[in-house]
Symmetry: C3
Subunit: 420 residues, 3 copies
């Protein structure tokens, strides 16, 4: 462990500082404020035509809702692990803070105005979206990767995402407003592919830190509930203003509500003595938001949205119960947060309407493969098996824990003494 | 315990799934999106006349504030119990998710347009409001009811609430904008009546889990502070737009601020050695929001609002200190969260202006009585006394706790060994 | 300790009640609702000319973001101490609730309309801002002061702040939109001056409660992340509407993002084995928001904002690592939360552009000195050294802790028994 930990001292600061300096230089060259001029000929999802220059802040409350989902929602959702809370919320902040800068550049490249990327609220919402793909993938490999590996994953995943997004939205003209496919399914399968490449036989029989304690489950519920509440903003933020946006809000709100009922019901049905399982409640209750994403702004009817949420809650809960163990044991995919059940399958469910997504899905597998190979390189400071799921390898952890261990040692000692 | 727990396996999933399926069918028949047409002849609190169809999303930020109060605010406020955090935030999510669907139907029935319920942001704010009544009542019986009982309570309480609300607002034409009476006092006395019917002599001398630990009190403060911050939105969301809405915001903001000072002062005054009591801080600081509700949009003057909050903070704190024990020992009302002090008395204080509320209050008692009888039926999976206030009866709880118990057992064992 | 604690019983309630009653009387005489009339001749930062009376609620979402920063952000940021969470979030609520009332009066005095203070959303945003100075100073003396001392500090600090703010904005006509200097640097140096006056030689070698435990660090991250997310609202809330406001949002958003990377990198670089330190992550990641404050609404270019954030993250992290220990040992300034590193230096960095701030800075030192003397008076109920950083001196703390101590005592007992 010392060898691994020590390596971070140079690797991580150098990588982080260089990435940021390069990013600042690129911003100096390419990025300017949006001044409301020069719009109208880029391919934005109808934003430019609807938001007149007089109201540049109109989307700001929506942006802040999405911002909360990215930083509080994803960050705290992953704090369920007993000894990995610092990394969950802290590395989430790191990846999202870098990812949004990178996303602004990568997405902006397709929408240049006079050779410049003009930053607007619309653009920073999309930048936040691009980080969501990384945070979903982060969930699949949580506890088993180093910050350096994850920064590299961030660059690659967001770059590919921006290309995908451009192809889907602007070249193919496909509609994926809530991004069931291009964010959720993409993020999930990207993460699963990486998890597969990083397969650790040593964790086949689990790891003592790969679980929750009582209060860590409550911290995770902060993430769950903020994601649940603000998902209508996620699915409607970049919809056409007015009644289309309202439709996206209503559909997501109702899909999530129906999803809660089915997730709770199935959780109770499949668990020991009919008890509810916090893993299901923390995750499967959100599947309705993922699944209704693609068609959120369409006229599917309120009950249609509820049906989608209802089914998503069932599929997701069953996935956590039955599929995750199979993926781990048979396919070598150790999906820490079960992103396949929350983002993967519900994302597919949401995107079934479009053949486009399937075609793109195949193309992406090649990228996944290369990505996994790169992350497998032995010099990114990844943790050895015994230190997986443990903050203390990358974070200074308060001494209490060591004290506890010492006091346990003491107890042992007194016991031995007594036995003598 | 096993018998109780096992029963949930069939009861709860079946009830939850059937309720959701019936709800989806009712939505398929009755609910459509609001398209901005057909307004003007329903009885909405002036909404339809002020919000032109061009801005269907105008109330969305207000809605999200209320949403945060319902799901984070109420959910985390109740996590103060040491072993009941999963149920507090988890069952809160379940009841509110079902309640908002049921509320949309029950409230919508009074405002049909061409035989349909048109869902708008205004309507989903009201649906969230309807769930607040249930969550308040939930506080009164927290720790002593099963999820099945609570789902049934949700249906009954929201149905009656919708009738009440219709009578008060549209038939009697009474003003209760922040709903001191029709939400807070109603929710509190409904909950107290249910608590009375479910009186448990076995808990007369308290229960070891009916208390907090250090970190559970901090989780509860998340709920408190979010409720406190967003209460101005709760009391103004459906007020007339413009200066009336501003008045409701200012009154609530100032009432809450004054309430904090009096709640802290009285808490220190009545407690052991002048120390502050977290129960008071978590709850009585919010009484100002409840009490100013009914007259929030009236021209009572900023200092008038502060006076109301000041008095509410005093009454509420004194209630927690002196009234709650009396209710429990003399009237057989075991009010877990003290909703009588936060929602009951401050709600009455807020509604004193109207005789209407009193008249309705009497009528409600009959419903309370029937409700209690139905919930008392022996097959809802309610917990036995010794399992009250304990998540492990309805939730899978991380093993740490059992380990602790085992290690304690071990300690005992080694001690015995030593003594031999 | 009993003597200290008992004294609170009369002192605190009397001070709190009298302050609130005086405040209510002042409100009765001076404060009315804003009715949209009579604007145009006060000196507000251009608010009155841009916000037409027709949209009195336009700034409300911004206000709520700032509100969350004040009550959740500052409150939870300080919960990192293992035994001082109740005080952190609870006293934060008390001081902010009183401070916003006092701030409305003190700030309003400079903008009377027909002899009255007209409360608008703009005014309550500024009132929230005025409390921020107190909460920053609170961080410097956290764990070492009584609620009574802090209420007195609140009155003095906000009164002086309001004079400063008036001089800077209206007399000198200086621009400090995000208030790097007049809020952050002022709050920090005010707090440091108070900390210096309250220097405790007995804490020279630290205190066992002056540190975190695992879960207290996670609670603090709730504060950090909410501050981080909503800082763009803090720096733009009172900017000129439209593209100026957009500029303030974009600059703050980018400065914070760049700051995260440099703070993480330097934290890893300077720490033991390259590990990240939660103190840096909780605080230095926010320095970008402070430092970009003064020029947030200026055309510094997106990369300019990022450069400021990047440098602020480095300075702040280095300050925590190297400067805080020196301040404590050489200058007798025991800065509990390190506000010098988060608000002080980054605030100075942000304000360097203006000579004005420096001139004012000198004047303020006199006030600091008097303030410290007043707070040093022996009758405010301040805690003795051994009870610093411990909630139990001012709060009722759940019994668990005592039980733990008892069980340890038991363990000792059984050990002794065994040895016999």
């Amino acid at each position: 462990m010392p060898a691994y930990a020590t390596n971070m001292r140079l690797k991580f600061p150098i990588v982080a500082l260089i990435l940021e300096i390069i990013t600042i230089i690129l911003f100096a060259v390419f990025v300017v404020y949006d001044d409301g001029e020069g719009h109208g000929h880029d391919g934005d999802h109808s934003n430019s035509t609807h938001h007149t220059p007089q109201e540049p802040m109109a989307l700001y409350p929506m942006f802040q809702d999405v911002h909360v989902m990215i930083f509080i929602g994803f960050g705290f959702l992953m704090t369920f692990l007993k000894r990995y809370g610092f990394s969950s919320v802290g590395v989430n902040l790191l990846l999202a803070a870098f990812g949004l800068q990178w996303g602004l550049l990568m997405q902006g490249v397709w929408h240049l105005t006079d050779g410049k990327i003009k930053v607007s609220i619309f653009k920073i919402i999309n930048a936040d979206f691009s980080t969501a793909t990384v945070l979903i993938s982060f969930g699949a490999v949580l506890g088993k990767t180093s910050p350096v590996q994850l920064l590299i994953m961030t660059i690659m995943e967001i770059t590919i995402f921006s290309i995908n997004e451009h192809l889907v939205a602007n070249v193919l003209g496909a509609n994926d407003i809530g991004a069931s496919m291009i964010i959720h399914a993409y993020g999930a399968y990207f993460g699963l592919a990486v998890a597969r490449m990083l397969y650790r036989p040593g964790l086949r029989n689990g790891h003592e830190n790969d679980g929750s304690v009582y209060h860590s489950d409550l911290f995770a519920m902060i993430g769950t509930v903020f994601l649940w509440m603000f998902w209508p903003s996620f699915n409607s933020a970049i919809a056409d203003p007015g009644f289309t946006q309202l439709t996206a809000v209503i559909n997501t709100y109702l899909s999530l509500a129906a999803c809660v009922l089915s997730a709770y019901a199935i959780s109770s049905l499949v668990e020991h003595k009919g008890k509810l399982d916090m893993v299901h409640i923390q995750n499967a209750t959100l599947a309705g938001g993922v699944a209704v994403g693609t068609c959120a702004d369409m006229n599917i009817g309120p009950f249609g949205a509820m049906l989608i949420g209802f089914v998503a809650g069932i599929i997701s809960t069953l996935g956590f119960k039955y599929l995750t163990p199979i993926l781990a044991s048979n396919l070598g995919i150790q999906d820490t947060c079960g992103v396949h059940n929350l983002h993967g399958m519900p994302g597919i469910l949401g995107g079934l309407a479009g053949i486009v997504a399937v075609a793109l899905g195949k193309k992406k597998n090649i990228f996944f493969f290369i990505q996994g190979l790169i992350m497998k390189l032995p010099f990114w400071g990844q943790p050895p098996d015994q230190n997986c799921f443990d903050d203390s390898i990358y974070w200074e952890v308060p001494e209490e824990e060591e004290e506890n261990e010492e006091s346990l040692a003491h107890a042992d000692h007194s016991k031995n003494k007594a036995e003598v």
